[in-house]
Amino acid sequence: MTAAVQDTLAMLVRHQRNFLRQPIWLVFALTQPMFWLLLYSQLFRRIIDLPGFDTDSYVQFLAPGVVVMTAFFGAVWSGMAMIDDLDRGVVPRFLATRAHPGSLVVSQVLHAAIISIVQTVIILGTAWLLGARVERGVAGWLVITVVAALVGAGFAGISHGIALIVRREEPLIAILNFFGLPLTFISATLIAETLMPGWMQWAARFNPVNWGVVAAREMSSLDTDWGRVGLYTGLLLAFVALASALATRAFGVYRKTL
């Protein structure tokens, strides 16, 4: 057990170090969420005039959405790192050592979750500068961060699962592109739930991105519906468990092809 944890930490250090060494990537990962926040809040500024928005600042409304969207998009692409490792033989090489095999996937998922957490802090910080507040204070920041980490971990698990099965960049890109935008739009990320068509509201209930957005948004206003926060956080936990199972399964499939 401790060996598995140690291996996971050692691998995690590797991912983070390699990430920090790519300055361009780093700059984009950190500035993109701010950019989204600024862009969307300008583009859709008048949207709050519509009935259904019970806020007078779109940034206030948008910030939790951008937090979750950022975690989602970051994590969804994280499987590319796995493909790189497969191509270069890094994964097979570790599989012939005493390294705990699970650490190879778990460390990637943790890495994605940690990036999501850092991005969350940056977005909430930027939103704060723009006058938007997480009304629930410390508890709000905490829950929103946890939600972002869960969304990041869950989708990273799925992305790695697909990566281990297709094992090539092109199909992974195609699959992720196909699902990326719909999952964002069939959610309350940019727009109030009540403004979505009925079928979309229904579909959104099955969308982990939406679970994250709803839970995070509840925590940024004062009339928090704790039941919904609990429900959706719980669902996200289940989602992470399911995604991990999928990634583990995919890893097993991959090992059989060796």
Partner: protein, 321 residues
């Protein structure tokens, strides 16, 4: 006890490619053993099974005394594995690669530092230890590869094509490293290669693999002797070599002669010993000789003989059978 014992190894990949069809060989402790064969022969598959990466369909394999299926953990502890595809993290430095490898191989931290410095030094990577591997030359990267495989002092080292893709200079440097390693007591090395000269130079024994089977194995010298003896080529000062061939054949030491214009090629068991007799017989018959050369047969000849195919033109990759 043999360091590696393989018997009747069979493997069919999920998509139906039969990669191994009863591979068997054994490697003594401290020996350098070469698996020689063309693309797709099954060299990497054999090594991957021995390194516990791939599963086997039939047969048994023991490495360092442990069964690769039932005692995979113990095997992993005992081996170093340098894959054909490297497996170095090119985004990290040489030092970081060795450290991570050592950590997952459970080398105690204090010892790991010492071992790392020692490896960087002996593999000539000291000055590049803190450079990102992406900036390494092919030869440096491959040396790092080997160093990583040795970090936990394994008793068996698998090298899957250690010099493929290296330029002649880097290859020579790698050969020197490997010769030094081979001299270290207790380390058993199994290397795969396409290069006959590499197997000839480094390996004490070789096995030629073709289509998932070992077609022949033994010490390179013995294989060559078993095949051909020596090749003696006589160049005459003038005229035709047919008469000379008749003279030489009458000597009785020659196994086979071939003539080609002024050239006479003869196969004899011991070339150097046969030459004086050949020369005096020709002189006695009044045939003038311009030059004589004696050559050992190469492993190319061995390969050709035992597989019935020319080594260089061979490519079995993806062949259906």
């Amino acid at each position: 006890m043999a360091a590696i014992e393989v018997e009747g190894l069979e493997k069919t990949y999920p998509k139906g490619v039969r990669a191994l069809d009863g591979v068997g060989f054994s490697v003594a402790e401290g020996e350098v053993f070469g698996l020689l064969g063309p693309n797709g022969a099954g060299k990497s598959t054999t090594v991957k099974i021995l390194a516990t990466l791939s599963t086997l369909d039939a047969g048994t394999a023991r490495v360092a005394g442990y069964d690769v299926v039932r005692e995979a953990g113990a095997v992993r502890r005992s081996i170093g594995y340098v894959p054909q595809a490297s497996g170095v993290d090119v985004h990290a430095t040489g030092r970081e690669n060795i450290l991570l490898q050592g950590r997952v191989q459970r080398v105690p931290p204090g010892e790991l530092r010492r071992r790392m410095d020692e490896l960087l030094e002996t593999f000539g990577l000291g000055d590049f230890a803190d450079r990102i591997v992406r900036t390494y030359s092919g030869g440096m990267k491959r040396r790092l590869d080997v160093a990583m495989g040795l970090v936990h002092r394994p008793v068996v080292l698998f090298l899957d094509e250690p010099t493929t893709g290296l330029d002649p200079e880097a290859r020579a440097a790698m050969w020197e490293e490997l010769e030094r390693l081979a001299g270290e007591e207790q380390l058993t090395i199994l290397l795969t290669t396409h290069y006959l000269e590499e197997a000839d130079r480094l390996a004490k024994r070789v096995a030629i693999v073709s289509r998932g089977r070992v077609v022949v194995d033994g010490p390179p010298d013995q294989l060559k002797r078993r095949l051909l003896g020596d090749a003696v080529t006589v160049e005459l000062a003038g005229g035709d070599a047919t008469a000379a061939a008749a003279v030489v054949e009458r000597l009785g030491v020659v196994e086979e002669t071939v003539t080609d214009g002024r050239h006479l090629r003869a196969r004899v068991e011991h070339g150097a010993q046969a030459v004086p007799g050949i020369l005096s017989a020709l002189e006695a018959s009044g045939i003038a000789v311009a030059s004589v050369t004696v050559a050992r047969p190469s492993l190319d000849d061995v390969y050709l003989h035992f597989t019935g195919r020319d080594f260089r033109s061979e490519d079995e990759a993806g062949s259906a059978r």
